[in-house]
Symmetry: C2
Subunit: 400 residues, 2 copies
Amino acid sequence: MMAYRPDGAPSTDDFGAFLPGPRLTMAGASEGPLAGLSFAAKDLFDVAGHVTVCGSPDWGATHPPAARSATVIEKLLAAGGSLAGKTVTDEISLGLLGRNRHYGSPVNPRAPDRYTGGSSSGSAAAVAGDLVSFALGSDTGGSMRVPSSYCGIYGIRPTHGAIPVAGLMTQAPSFDTAGFFAADPEIFARVGDVLLPDASLGEIEEVIVAEDAFGAADAAVSAALKPAIERIATLIGASRTEIVAAEGLRVWNEHHCFLQHPEFARTFGPWVDAIDPRLSYDVAKTIANARGLPDAPKRAAEAFRPLVRERLDALLDGRRVLCLPTTPTTALPRDLSLSATGEACDRIVDLTCIAGLTGLPQISLPLATSGGLPIGLSLIGWRGSDLTLLDLARRLGSPQ
Amino acid sequence: MMAYRPDGAPSTDDFGAFLPGPRLTMAGASEGPLAGLSFAAKDLFDVAGHVTVCGSPDWGATHPPAARSATVIEKLLAAGGSLAGKTVTDEISLGLLGRNRHYGSPVNPRAPDRYTGGSSSGSAAAVAGDLVSFALGSDTGGSMRVPSSYCGIYGIRPTHGAIPVAGLMTQAPSFDTAGFFAADPEIFARVGDVLLPDASLGEIEEVIVAEDAFGAADAAVSAALKPAIERIATLIGASRTEIVAAEGLRVWNEHHCFLQHPEFARTFGPWVDAIDPRLSYDVAKTIANARGLPDAPKRAAEAFRPLVRERLDALLDGRRVLCLPTTPTTALPRDLSLSATGEACDRIVDLTCIAGLTGLPQISLPLATSGGLPIGLSLIGWRGSDLTLLDLARRLGSPQ
């Protein structure tokens, strides 16, 4: 049983990024493209011989040590990266803010009174706090993108299926992806070369600014991102504005949830039923509501998803990228009530559902601040454009 | 932070009845009707200077020590009873089985592989295990009656309002009652004399056997209770059979829930919202569902309650008692899944809702076993007949 760190007072020597107790470390190969770099891994990734706790003491207590390490961890070690520790995650990956009532909510190194974003909270804090060179996270509904934006670092949710998820805790398989953070765009791209060896480098011909996505963000956030958009448009040489979701982004959000929620209810339902775990209220409520969802909206969402995939595939057409705010606001304060954070999460998913529903890759770039806090600008590329997006991040250079 | 005792393996030296750590004891007055008797108190009752944890570490961590002791504890101490410790309760009193994932689920002394019933689980275990002479519990939806039946002891849910609830954690105020358990009917009645000084002794002229309530119980349970019913009918001298709920007991159950659940949602909602507590899945689900209830069924239930109160007041008419099984089954096995226990609880409330909705007093008598396990026979009396019911328990003598 690990110590309970109240939400408001995690250990600050490491931003509460790492799991309590001795760090789980593994030395990487002495040579390779990542030699000399350290990385952290969200505690949803298996390390052989160790229990993957997934941010829940009762999950940890009811699962055996992993038989082998996650594919991505093996690849990073083989490429010379060294594992510096496993990081705190929102409980069983259900959360977008970086809250964990069992192990403490990591501190945002760029804004200590605010959340890091989640669920890849500890990995983002470790990178933003300069404790590691890069870090593994995962993204089902926004778990890479939100902490990238809140903590002011680079992060990618790859094309669905492009990075192997073997050894990553399953949440909602048709949405689950493994991603990574870095503070340096050069390292960010180098990790991509290791984890996405099959991807090809393409050419971006046009930037499409998602008018409705910018409309869904706070006006100050949209304004703060404008110079960065212009920089990218100038670099690419062509841009236009378009409404992505004629139906309204909230409708996309709802369809996303009607698909994702039954999937995680299938994943976690039998465990909950057998184990009777202690959970955070919001996690339990999310699972309970998902288990109670009627069939009709699920069927509607199953019909909706291929249509919007086709639409965005046609729009991006192997040569365009969509530009949007990563999150509608900067990092949220740590003292919000659950009802306030619930409303905030609804607004976040209005933006994160676009790549989620379509399975397209998205990178978040730390190119702006608003009110002194980081805010990410996102680019969604065509299916398989991951390396092209990472290359663009490298060309845009260091954070401004 | 107290140690986590997994559900299947609580400490067995005290049946896991008492809270972990040093016992909270208080010596009673040297003279009085309860002199020389020890009692336990469910950890929903305040003791001055101590935090009432209410079965939830996060409740305990977010509430100050009680300024004064609960009225009933003061009365028992003044009457000579000595407090021997505080007992485990289902988390914030929401449960009927005796499960607690934070402090362990007490062992049923009469059936170690089965639950004690709850939420007054530790108090029932302490009495059934002969660790104390009597014990305080509370009953909102069945929390005295279910453990009385499962553990084979005497227990009372008094007339609503007859025993003061000052210093008892509020759950659903229009249902909350303070009650007590004893293994000996003489002591059971003596505690009633102390806690119900204003009640008067009346005469029971007729026993009404609730046909629908017996129909809602397992056939083996109804059959096992038959000899005890006949004994009571013979003692009283007159009996007949009647259907209590023409609408069906499940309809009464639903109306009960439509009233109770919004009340506890109002009680716990602001705390949950502010504190983000760690909860058992079922507790969180129960609160979340209650907060989401629409208004129409609440209004229907508000209209329904006075009608059934009038009906039962007319039926019992200051001279009749209603006889029913306390629970539809004997104690449930400890290894059930949450979905199985959920269905079991629905069946329990079919029976416990009768006294709950009407506010009438109910005693459970340990007068039978089924398959070697205890099963309680209940009597519901007219409003204010508490001492009359306790006197009947005394006249029926020791458990058979």
